[in-house]
């Protein structure tokens, strides 16, 4: 199985870019055989000091810790280990700057391994699966809105709660308050796509819009999603990051010409 990867990012109307992201190298055969392919995204917390540093440290630490996965270790175990390690690194940063617990970041990782998808997260960055044109959310936001929903509070009351977007889990505490893990891996099908995104994306685009744009060439889709967010010209647009990975359907797709023509034609038709 091969993957096509693309990503897009913009600062929005914020002073700094506090989102970070990275993907492993799908051409590194030894890594792929042992650990598959991993994409990571983190959204550093604005109201806090050193948000950018926290998110980029988290991304690096997750990749580094996951990369030492042995063949014997399962993917969920390796992801859990990587998240625990990365949280320690972010907590350490908070202590270094003299603000323990005041430096924070969300974190989200998705792994393709042996035709299955695994994922882990803390916070409100989201993972979506795009399959045959429809979008399925695979993560639940770790925020107050989700907690209130679980307690049976009405959507109207939640929408009125000014704290609804407050996170209930993220990196930066001595331990992760709530670590989300895929309970069972998801078997991947040809032409499945996944989207990792920060809240700056899904607060500006609705799911049908996201689904439509994900039909494009996966390598371009990240940039196209971010461009669409910017086109909305929201006055307080947050940092926005989109990372798209597609399971390559057939060798002809990688030959490039066919998919390039198809994507180009599609864009001409839709523009």
């Amino acid at each position: 199985m091969r993957c096509l990867v693309g990503n897009g990012q913009h600062r929005g109307r914020r002073k700094r870019q506090e989102d970070s992201f990275a993907s492993s190298d799908p051409c590194d055969e030894a890594f792929v055989a042992r650990a598959g392919f991993i994409s990571v995204l983190a959204d550093g917390m604005g109201g806090m000091a050193r948000g950018r540093e926290a998110s980029s440290l988290a991304v690096e630490a997750i990749l580094e810790a996951y990369a030492v996965k042995s063949e014997a270790e399962t993917v969920p175990a390796a992801l859990k280990r990587a998240f625990i390690r990365a949280n320690e690194v972010v907590f350490e940063l908070g202590r270094e700057v003299g603000l323990p617990g005041a430096v924070g970041t969300t974190a989200l990782a998705a792994v393709f391994f042996e035709k299955q998808l695994f994922w882990a997260w803390a916070g409100d960055s989201r993972l979506y699966l795009w399959r045959r044109g429809s979008l399925h959310r695979l993560t639940e936001d770790h925020n107050l809105a989700t907690r209130l929903e679980g307690e049976g509070v009405s959507p109207e009351a939640i929408a009125r709660n000014p704290e609804r977007e407050a996170l209930t889990s993220f990196f930066g505490f001595p331990a992760i308050p709530h670590l989300g893990l895929s309970e069972v891996p998801l078997p991947l099908e040809e032409d499945d796509r996944i989207l990792l995104c920060s809240d700056g994306l899904y607060r500006s685009l609705d799911e049908p819009e996201i689904a439509a744009l994900l039909a494009d060439d996966p390598r371009r889709a990240g940039e196209i999603l971010v461009d669409r967010v910017l086109a909305k010209k929201r006055p307080r647009q947050d940092n926005v990051t989109a990372l798209v990975v597609a399971v390559e359907p057939c060798p002809a797709f990688s030959a490039g010409l066919f998919s390039t023509l198809a994507a180009g034609a599609r864009r001409l038709l839709t523009s």
Binding site: F21, A22, L261
Partner: protein, 187 residues
């Protein structure tokens, strides 16, 4: 399109960016030396093997099909003709490749010179034009309300460009560095 992965794990099209646009510009010294390495002609020899991918630019709605066809008919590729280097603004330290005919400057990633400056128009704020027959460059005003300046003077329509002229759009200043001219041209 030549899709590459930077050492930090970001993906980008190296036909449009010679450096990863997602890596921070914090390490300016490192970027400048990388930029100088990139500017060597070897980088472009590599490009000749990526021929087919260039078609995306022509088909991607940029309307530059003829441009690419013209240069490619002569050289077998759509080669770099010069650079804009950001010396002031959010992209300070970053360089942008120029190719034949119209190179658009704007905020969206679909422009040839995509800037992060929020005061720049989304698309076609202005153009740097390379005339492949005369082997000359010019800067041209765009389609929107945003103005474009050359060495401090507004460009009402089109002005010739010479090495190290400074183009100003929004809060961004771009230094023009030609590759093609009297001493060199793609044959």
């Amino acid at each position: 399109m030549a899709w590459v992965r930077c050492e930090k794990g970001h993906y980008y099209d190296d036909e449009r960016h010679s450096l990863c646009p997602y890596c921070g510009v914090g390490d300016l010294a490192g970027q400048v030396s990388a930029l100088q390495n990139e500017a060597l002609p070897e980088g472009d020899e590599e490009k000749t093997v990526r021929l087919d991918d260039g078609t995306l630019r022509a088909l991607g709605g940029t309307g530059e099909g003829e441009t690419v066809a013209y240069v490619r008919a002569r050289t077998g590729m759509d080669p770099v003709t010069g650079w804009l280097v950001c010396i002031d603004g959010p992209d300070r330290g970053r360089d942008f490749r120029l190719r034949s005919e119209k190179n658009s400057i704007g905020r969206l990633a679909t422009n040839d010179v995509p800037l992060s400056d929020e005061t720049v128009s989304r698309e076609n704020h202005g153009f740097v034009v390379f005339d492949p027959r005369k082997v000359t460059f010019s800067v041209r005003a765009g389609e929107g309300r945003g103005l474009i300046y050359k060495n401090g003077d507004e460009v009402p329509f089109s002005e010739p460009l010479k090495a190290y002229d400074v183009i100003e759009v929004g809060q961004t200043r771009l230094l023009f560095v030609p590759l093609c001219g009297e001493s060199f041209r793609w044959e």
